[in-house]
Amino acid sequence: MTATDKPKAPGLFDGKFSPTRPLAASGNLFAFALDTMKALPKRPFQIREFIQQTWFIASVTILPTALVAIPFGAVIALQLGSLTRQLGAQSFTGSASVLAVLREASPIVTALLIAGAGGSAICADLGARKIRDEIDAMEVLGISPIQRLVVPRVLGCMLVAVLLNGLVSVVGVAGGYFFNVILQGGTPGAYLASFSALAQVQDFWSGEIKALIFGLIAAVVAAYKGLRAGGGPKGVGDAVNQSVVITFLLLFAVNFVITAIYFQLVPPKGQ
C-alpha cells in the first residue's frame, strides 16, 4: 500500500534452502551439547528427576532390547556355524560369536533401542512440554530447562545404555550358545573353551564405552530436537522423527570412528 512496505515476491528458496543451513543446524546441536556439558556440574543436581528418568528409560528399553538381542545372537551363531564348518574352523565358532556380539552387535542393538525407544520418548516428552509453553514458563521462573530437564535425562540415558550393553552381551552370547549347541549340534565344551581364544576383556570395555557415547548422543539429540519443537502437535511428531533419524545416522558414523580407533589402540589377540 505504501512505497516503504512493498511486499516482497515470495522467492523459490526464500531462505529455506540456504547452503549454510545444515552447517548452522550442526553448530546449534554442538552448542547445545556444550551447554549441557556446562550444566553438568551445576548444583543442585536433580537427583529425583535423574532416578525417575533412568527408571523410565530402562523400563521402555529393557524388554525390547532383550527380545532383539536373542535373534541377533542367533543370526550371528547361524552365520558363523556354517562359515566355520566350510573353513574347517569349528573350534573357533564360540570365540568368533563372542567377538561379534561384544564388539559390534551389542553396542549397535543398544544404540538402536536407546535411540528408537528411549530417545523418541525423551523427544516427545520435551516437545510436548515445549509446545504447551511449559519450557518457556520454566525459563521465566528462572529455572534452566537444560539443568533441570536435559542433564538428568542425558545422564540417565548414558547409565541405561551402559547397563543395556551388558544385558545384550549376556543375552546375545547365550542366544548364540543355544543356537549353535542345541540347534546346529555344536560341541558345548568346544564352544565354551574357545570363548577367550580371540576375544579379550578390552572388547567388552570398548563395547561399554561405545554404549556410553551412544547414550550421550541419543539423549542430547533427542533433547535438542524436543526443546526446539514448534508448530503444534505436528511439530512434535516431526521432531521425534528427525531426532530418531539423526541419532541413527550419528550413531553409525560414530560407531565406525570408535571401531577404527579401537583397532589402532588395542592389538588383536595373538599378535
Binding site: 500500500m1 505504501t2 516503504t4 512496505d5 516482497k8 526464500d14 531462505g15 510436548a128 512440554r129 504447551r132 509453553d133 511449559e134 518457556d136 514458563a137 520454566m138 525459563e139 521465566v140 521462573l141 528462572g142 529455572i143 534452566s144 533441570r148
Partner: protein
C-alpha cells in the same frame, strides 16, 4: 512497589519477516497497562521479548539498570525472577498437580521448609479462588481454573512485574469480569507493574491505567487510557469500537480509497455512537468509562495516585478531548496544582513519586504516523 520497564527502539524480525520495529514505551511502575492489537501483530512476541525468551535485533529493554536485550544468560535468569508471567493456557506442568505446580518456584528457588511452602501456596490459591483444588492435575480442570492456577504460580515469588498473555481468551464474559477484578485487586495488594496483552475491548476500557495499540509493525500509540479512549486516530478508533470500517482489514491493511468510502458511509449512518455494540466488549462512541476499583476492604491502589500525579504533570501535552477526560478523573488538589503550574510532588504513599522528567510525555506517548510502514 513494581519497577518501571523502559523499552526503547525495539525491533524484532523472524528471518526476513519484520514483526514490529522501533517500539518505544515505558511501563510506569505499579500501574496496569494494556497492549492491544489485531491478531498476528506480535503482541505475544513482545511479551516474550520482555522476559528475554526472544532476542530482538535492535533496541533496549531496561529495568533496574539492566538491559534484557544484551545482558548475559546468567544475568537474565536473575532478572527473570522479577517477572511473573501468565501464559495463554496457564502453561502448567502437566505431570504435577496444582499444589506442586504452584510450589515449584518456591522449591527450586528458596530454602523454605515444606510447611512454609504449604502456607504460601494455600494463601495464593485462596487469592485466585482455587482453594480445595490442590490435588487436581492440570488436565482435569477447566481452562479458567488453569489460568488462575498459572496466575497463582506466577505470584508465589512476589514478582515486581506481572505479564498476562490474553487472560480473557477462552473464558466466558462473567469469568473475564471476575478475572479483571482479580487483576485490579492484585495490583492493589502487591503494587507490581502489570502488562496485559488482550483483544478484549471491555478489559481495555475498564482495567488499565495505560493503553497501547500495535498495528502494522508499529506501536501506533501508547499513553494514559484517556488518550486512547478519546483518540481520533482511525486505527485506534476502529479497534476500540470493534467495527469493520477503518484501516484494519481481515488479513492485512486495506486500500486507502476503500477505507475512505467506508468511513464516509459510517459517518452518514451517524458515526460510532450510532454503530451499536461491537464484539468483545466494544461499545459505540469514545466515552471514557470509569476504571475498575479494587474490591471494598482492600487497600487503595498506590499506583492510581502515582498515575494521577503523572498525568496531571503531562496534562498540557494532550488534545483538548483527552485533557478533558483526564481532568474529570483527577482529584481537586492535583487539578489545582496542575492549573496553577506549580507542582509539589507529594511525599509518602508508596515511597516514590513520579520523577520530574523534562521529556516524560514524549517517552510515554509515541504517536506514529498512520502511513508509517517503518518510517
Amino acid at each position: 512497589m513494581g519497577v518501571a520497564v523502559e523499552v526503547e527502539g525495539l525491533t524484532k524480525s523472524f528471518g526476513s519477516q519484520n514483526i514490529w520495529s522501533d517500539v518505544t514505551l515505558t511501563l510506569p511502575p505499579g500501574e496496569i497497562s494494556v497492549l492491544l492489537g489485531p491478531s498476528g501483530t506480535g503482541k505475544s512476541v513482545f511479551l516474550k521479548s520482555l522476559v528475554g525468551l526472544l532476542k530482538p535485533e535492535k533496541g533496549s529493554i531496561i529495568l533496574n539498570d539492566t538491559d534484557i536485550v544484551t545482558c548475559s544468560e546468567h544475568k537474565l535468569y536473575d532478572v527473570r525472577r522479577l517477572f511473573g508471567v501468565l501464559f495463554q493456557d496457564g502453561a502448567l506442568f502437566g505431570s504435577m498437580n496444582l499444589f506442586d505446580n504452584i510450589a515449584f518456584p518456591l522449591r527450586e528457588h528458596t530454602k523454605k521448609s515444606e510447611s512454609e511452602i504449604k502456607s504460601i501456596v494455600l494463601e495464593k490459591m485462596d487469592m485466585v479462588g482455587l482453594a480445595g483444588a490442590e490435588g487436581k492435575l492440570p488436565g482435569e480442570i477447566s481452562g479458567g481454573m488453569r489460568k488462575r492456577a498459572g496466575l497463582a504460580r506466577a505470584l508465589v515469588l512476589d514478582p515486581e512485574i506481572i505479564l498476562f498473555d490474553e487472560p480473557d481468551s477462552g473464558l466466558d464474559p462473567v469469568r473475564v469480569a471476575y478475572l479483571n477484578q482479580l487483576i485490579v485487586d492484585l495490583n492493589a495488594q502487591i503494587d507490581a507493574t502489570f502488562l496485559i496483552v488482550t483483544h478484549d475491548i471491555g478489559t481495555a476500557r475498564t482495567v488499565p491505567d495505560n493503553l497501547g495499540l500495535l498495528f502494522r509493525r508499529n506501536l501506533v500509540m501508547f499513553g494514559p487510557r484517556e488518550q486512547l479512549l478519546t483518540s481520533q486516530e482511525p486505527v485506534v478508533r476502529q479497534f476500540l469500537n470493534g467495527r469493520r470500517e477503518g484501516p484494519i482489514g481481515m488479513s492485512e491493511e486495506k486500500d486507502v480509497a476503500q477505507v475512505e468510502a467506508e468511513m464516509a458511509a459510517l459517518e452518514a449512518r451517524g458515526g460510532d455512537a450510532h454503530n451499536g455494540v461491537g464484539p468483545k466488549g466494544a461499545s459505540g462512541g469514545d466515552a471514557v468509562p470509569p476504571q475498575l476499583e479494587p474490591t471494598e476492604g482492600l487497600p487503595e491502589r498506590k499506583g492510581a495516585r502515582r498515575r494521577q500525579e503523572r498525568v496531571a504533570r503531562m496534562l498540557h501535552e494532550f488534545d483538548p478531548d483527552t485533557a478533558d477526560a483526564i481532568r474529570r478523573s483527577l482529584p481537586e488538589d492535583l487539578l489545582a496544582m496542575a492549573d496553577s503550574g506549580s507542582f509539589e510532588p507529594s511525599q509518602g504513599a508508596g515511597g516514590r513519586h513520579w520523577a520530574p522528567d523534562p521529556d516524560a510525555g514524549r517517552a510515554t506517548t509515541t504517536t506514529l504516523p498512520r502511513q508509517g510502514g517503518g518510517g
